[in-house]
């Protein structure tokens, strides 16, 4: 075990003066992030393609970096256990994916409603039925309205950076809601690539439960029921009003997180040649595949730019509207059947017939860059 020093500011860990480049998988990048995150507890439950990451977090516990770690009995139990720990006033971490996400689902809106700054990695994969363990981002469609902040990593570097930064965003007093860090299963978790990591002997400042907008459930405050959830089950005007304003406050917390996403992630999205004729808008590894396609397209004289979503909740509505204003077409390649990202974009841009929700790949296959290229070609007027 390396002797670790607590950083004076989160920035020291998030933007270290020096970084070391190492060849590692996405799962190992999660371990590196958690090593530097100063968590008190982690709780695990196996599911492909997540398991490796929580094995490695378990190794951190065995080595003495994390005070408590155990395997829960199901994803629903684990999401409840991390909620209990967070209400107890400590920093916690867990990860799941695909069917595990769906098994645990009832807890996600609960986390947001309870104002818990839990950081959870989601390694996306197909959900039944038919059964598949392969990459597919459909679970993200279901999670869009649970109240959590959603960050989508393109590769292992993003996964390392976003996981660490998620704690800094989630724990702000005026935010204090969960952050889901999403990465595409196998394409990121099991792919080995170069990742630049900060020094291992420096970790984030500890979580301070006294900065929480809702007090910890530790009987160290006023001994009346603190409304981690509002005045439930009462049939009167005050109860309805409290419930409604509580929900608005959770939404407002997500809105207030925008400034921290800018501060820590440099914005909700990233662009390349944003004034191009055709824009590809994508998230996750669909961005990587698009980068290849763009190189092929440019070689054929097609004017195409790229918009990479890093943050999907809150949604970069104004940014997308601004970027879309001049584009002839917006191509949205996705690793799922329903095309939730295309739907999100169509909902905010003018003349949304310009939004092409294709190509879509699901069931576990990769997305050939040539498929995206074919879509780009189809957007070029025949006269050209």
């Amino acid at each position: 075990m390396i002797e670790q020093r607590v950083a004076r500011t989160a920035g020291e860990v998030l933007e270290p003066a020096r970084r070391e480049r190492r060849f590692m998988t996405g799962s190992e990048a999660v371990k590196e992030a958690i090593l530097r995150s100063n968590i008190t507890m982690a709780i695990a439950y196996p599911i492909t393609p997540q398991s490796e990451s929580m094995h490695l977090v378990g190794d951190l516990y065995a080595e003495g970096y994390i005070p408590d770690y155990f395997r829960g009995e199901s994803e629903f139990a684990v999401m409840s256990q991390v909620a209990g720990a967070a209400m107890g006033g400590v920093r916690v971490f867990t990860a799941t994916g695909g069917p595990g996400t769906l098994r645990a689902f009832e807890m996600f809106p609960c986390w947001a409603g309870m104002r818990l700054p839990i950081v959870c990695c989601f390694f996306t994969r197909g959900v039944n039925s038919p059964l598949s363990i392969q990459p597919d981002t459909i679970e993200m469609a279901f999670l869009l309205d649970t109240g959590m902040i959603m960050l989508h990593a393109e590769g292992a570097q993003d996964l390392y950076d976003f996981t660490l930064r998620a704690f800094a965003i989630a724990e702000q007093t005026d935010v204090h809601i969960p952050v889901g860090v999403f990465a595409d299963g196998f394409f990121v978790t099991h792919t080995r690539e170069m990742v630049a990591v900060g020094p291992p002997d420096l970790k984030l400042p500890p979580y301070d439960p006294h900065r929480s907008p809702v007090p910890a459930m530790d009987m160290e405050g006023v001994p009346v029921r603190h409304m981690r959830d509002p005045f439930v089950m009462k049939s009167n005007f005050i109860s309805y009003a409290a419930h409604a304003s509580w929900q608005q406050e959770v939404m407002a917390a997500a809105e207030r997180s925008r400034k921290y996403v800018h501060q820590y992630l440099g914005g909700l999205l990233e662009t390349e040649d944003e004034d191009a004729d055709i824009l590809i808008m994508a998230a996750g590894t669909a961005v990587s595949q698009s980068r290849e396609a763009i190189q092929l397209a440019r070689a054929q004289g097609i004017d195409v730019g790229l918009v990479k979503f890093k943050c999907l909740r809150p949604f970069p509505t104004e940014e997308v509207q601004h970027l879309a204003r001049r584009a002839r077409a917006i191509v949205v390649p996705e690793f799922n059947r329903v095309g939730w990202l295309a739907r999100e974009i169509k909902a905010v841009v003018d003349d949304n017939s310009r939004v092409v929700g294709a190509p879509r790949v699901f069931g576990g296959m990769t997305m050939p860059s040539e498929m995206i290229l074919a879509q780009l070609k189809a957007c070029v007027p025949a006269t050209r």
Binding site: F23, T25, S27, E28, T48, S51, E52, H55, L56, D59, L131, I133, Q134, P135, G155, F186, F187, V188, H190, T191, R192, E193, M194, T285, S288, Q289, R291, E292, M365, T366, M367, P368, S369
Partner: protein
């Protein structure tokens, strides 16, 4: 340098994940850019498994399966003969002038029709009795993956032996490696067979070097009467 897109096809348990990891690591040690990813289903031993290694001097964005490889490595004859493969035929997507290396002793099991298609692509076909080399040099079938890497170096010199040695040392002797849940269990079997780490590395390197020597090219041309049906050579 042109980009190398390598597809390794074989059976679960043959060490494709490890071979890809070592190759990718060696490439980065040679100062190249590399990404590596395995692909497998929920099945275990003897089910089709693939690993992909991308090596380039430029940043690599593309992820997932290598659909258009310029190098295909076949770790087991069943990939060809039983279709234990993610693509049909096994060389689907091979780029023009691509390379195929098959682990085989004697017959490769590739039909005339497929050989003609490969010839039309200008492909180069090689074979290596990788399992036999592994057993002979390291006294274990578990080194088959090393023999396959050796054959690849014999044909392409894609990475240096010095970097491969470093990568092997890191993989077996250095930090804890994570491929999939069962790989660690297999490592223990290996460690028990080779008590000393240095010995393990030396044996692996010896397997690679022997395989680099033993790899053989096969002609894709249709044999004329009297020609050898394996290599197409006359006389």
């Amino acid at each position: 340098m042109k980009r190398s897109l390598i597809r390794m096809s074989g059976l679960g348990g043959q060490g494709l994940v490890t071979a890809a990891h070592i190759l990718g690591t060696a490439a980065t040690k040679d100062g190249l850019v590399s990404t590596v990813n395995p692909f497998f289903g929920a099945e275990k031993r003897l089910a089709p498994a693939e690993s992909y290694v991308r090596i380039s001097t430029e940043p690599i964005h593309q992820r997932g399966e290598v659909l258009f490889p310029n190098i295909i490595m076949i770790f087991h004859p069943h990939v060809i003969t039983l279709g234990k493969c993610y693509t049909m035929p096994f060389f689907d997507g091979l780029q023009p002038e691509g390379i195929i290396i098959v682990n085989a002793e004697g017959e490769l099991g590739i039909g005339r029709e497929d050989l003609d298609k490969l010839a039309a692509l200008g492909a180069r076909l090689y074979s290596i009795p990788a399992t036999a080399v592994a057993v002979e040099v390291a006294e274990t079938e578990l080194a088959t993956n090393m023999a396959m890497l050796g054959a690849l170096i014999g044909v392409t010199r894609i990475v240096t032996f010095a970097s491969l040695r470093e990568a092997v040392l890191e993989r077996f002797g250095g930090a804890k490696f994570v491929a999939s849940g069962t790989t660690a269990a297999l490592d223990n079997v290996l460690a028990a067979k080779f008590t000393k780490m240095a010995q393990l590395v030396d044996k692996n390197m010896a397997v690679m070097e022997a395989a680099a020597e033993a790899v053989q090219e096969h002609s894709l041309a249709a044999p004329r009467k009297g020609g050898c049906h394996v290599c197409g050579r006359q006389g």
